[in-house]
């Protein structure tokens, strides 16, 4: 099972163990070679003695692969589990996460059950599988296209659920609007124009100095998040770091835990929307984006406009860092 990026398709390889037999004829083998865990049970009956098999052993292996693909774990860790399955007929449970629709879950379940049938003749033929998989893949592709459309409409409606690409531009806006917020809320302590400029310059230089010395880690960011959980930029920095370590799940679980802990906090929801959109799980992005819409808009605005932590600057792809140095 190899993937060629040039052609963009998957290919079968390694014919070291293959044999030429038709579906009618039955092969007989005395020795078993190959990878443990992907053998059909008819291979494994009486160790040492002659066993017979036909081309349905490939269907069994494909069933194992489908299982491993959707679950993320091997169907059978060793031949022992295959024999156990043969006698008690209890298929390892298929628990699929929410990325699969109910229809897909059903399809996977039925396909795996049929492909991993103990009786070789009850397994579907490869032609059956091609037919079934092609209808499934066409359907899911259509669904995906539909999701993308919905997501684009959604984005057009709710621009504030910010995308990673527009983070840099939003950051500048946020910087400006945070000053405006200060202006309006603290009317009693209005500062003069020059005072404010000096203050800003000091703030920025502090931020730059800090950003140059602090080496951001996930633990550090999580501690910062603990302190100010309403700061969207901290969440965004955290998932940027996670993405750098290719730990997509880690970023998602962190956001989810935070959402469970404090359902009214818009910052992790926004970041979760971003994450799902970045990984092209558009239906999930829309789902979380809509929950965001139900929250208090002032709170959402404040999550974007809170003063930025120096840690954030050093992390968010140095974009804001460059911006700040340019301003200086």
């Amino acid at each position: 099972m190899l993937y060629s990026r040039k052609d963009g398709i998957w290919k079968l390889a390694d014919f070291g163990l293959s044999s030429q037999l038709s579906s009618k004829s039955i092969g007989v083998t005395t020795s078993i070679r190959g990878t443990s865990g992907y053998f059909a049970p008819e291979f494994l009956v009486h160790p040492g003695s002659m066993t017979s098999y036909n081309n349905k052993v490939d269907i069994w292996a494909l069933g194992c692969i489908l299982y491993e693909f959707v679950v993320g774990e091997r169907a059978f860790d060793s031949d022992y589990f295959i024999i156990q399955y043969k006698f008690c007929r209890a298929l390892p449970e298929i628990t699929l996460d929410e990325y699969f629709s109910d229809e897909d879950k059903e399809m996977v379940q039925s396909a795996v059950t049929r492909m991993l049938d103990i009786e070789p003749s009850a397994r579907p033929t490869a032609a059956d599988l091609v037919e079934q998989f092609s209808s499934n893949s066409q359907r899911t592709m259509r669904e995906l296209l539909h999701e993308v459309q919905i997501y684009q409409e959604f984005r057009a409606l709710h621009i504030h659920s910010s995308e990673p690409e527009i983070v840099a531009s939003v950051a500048i806006v946020a910087e400006e609007s945070s000053i405006n917020v200060e202006e309006t809320t603290q009317e009693g302590q209005r500062t003069t124009q020059t005072d404010r400029e000096i203050q800003m310059f000091q703030q920025q230089s502090d931020v730059l100095l800090d950003a140059m010395t602090i080496q951001p880690t996930r633990a550090l960011l999580l501690a910062a998040i603990e302190k100010e959980p309403l700061n969207f930029w901290l969440w965004h920095a955290h998932s940027t770091l996670c993405a750098r370590e290719r730990d997509f799940r880690g970023a998602i679980t962190a956001c989810r835990n935070a959402i469970q802990k404090s359902p009214g906090n818009p910052a992790p929801i926004m970041e979760l929307t971003n994450l799902y959109a970045g990984e092209a799980h558009y239906s999930m992005a829309v789902r979380y984006g809509l929950t965001l819409w139900k929250l208090d808009p002032a709170k959402v605005q404040s999550a974007l406009t809170v003063s930025r932590n120096p840690l954030v600057i050093s992390v968010v792809d140095n974009l804001t860092f460059k911006q700040a140095s340019l301003e200086l």
Binding site: Y3, S19, Q20, G27, L62
Partner: protein, 192 residues
């Protein structure tokens, strides 16, 4: 196996080919990413007498990398090799199927009994795709599962469709693969 350069070394006693790096090894021998060397890029005088099996497929892309599987003869039974070569010739006789790895040539190395099978080079195998390009045996399963990006249903069905097409073709040709698995540790280049 003598290493001439960090990235470029010759092995296997075949002067016409440069081995760029080791892709995998197993009981049969090993698989290298290889390239025809410039001097021998025109392999006409060299290739024909070596070929054990008439290959229908000539290397059209000279100087492009390919995967060379070296089969060390004393380690592998002759019966098994004959079998693999018979299946591969059977498959290449019909032309190239999109879901079967194309074999470029099969031959014998000059000064030994060892055989080589040159195949098209692929980028990654399914196990790397599922588990995020980390070898499964090195990391416990529960760890990998958290690391790997979640699969989308459309991804799963598309890949499975292609695999099923490959298997369907094999079965139509009356060939049983018998060793289907995500990590056919044959030739693969990681994403990084």
């Amino acid at each position: 196996m003598m290493e001439c350069d960090k990235h470029l070394y010759t092995t296997g006693g075949d002067p016409t080919v440069l081995h760029r790096r080791l892709l995998g090894a197993g009981g049969y021998g090993e698989v290298h990413e290889a390239q025809d060397s410039i001097i021998y890029a025109n392999r006409q005088m060299y290739d024909i007498p070596l070929c054990k099996v008439p290959t229908t497929f000539r290397p059209a892309f000279i100087r492009q990398s390919f995967a060379r599987k070296l089969i060390r003869i004393p380690r592998v039974e002759a019966k098994v090799i004959d079998n693999e070569i018979r299946v591969l010739t059977e498959l290449s006789r019909e032309g190239i199927h999109p879901h079967i790895v194309a074999v470029l040539r099969i031959g014998e190395l000059p000064n030994s009994q060892d055989l080589f099978i040159d195949m098209e080079l692929c980028d990654l195998n399914l196990a790397e795709y599922i588990y995020g390009s980390k070898p499964r045996d090195l990391v416990p399963t529960f760890f990998i599962k958290d690391q790997s990006p979640p699969m989308k249903a459309s991804q799963v069905w598309t890949v499975m469709l292609q695999l099923a097409k490959g298997v369907e073709y094999l079965h139509r040709k009356a060939i049983i693969h018998r060793d289907l698995k995500p990590a056919n540790g044959n030739c693969c280049i990681g994403l990084n």
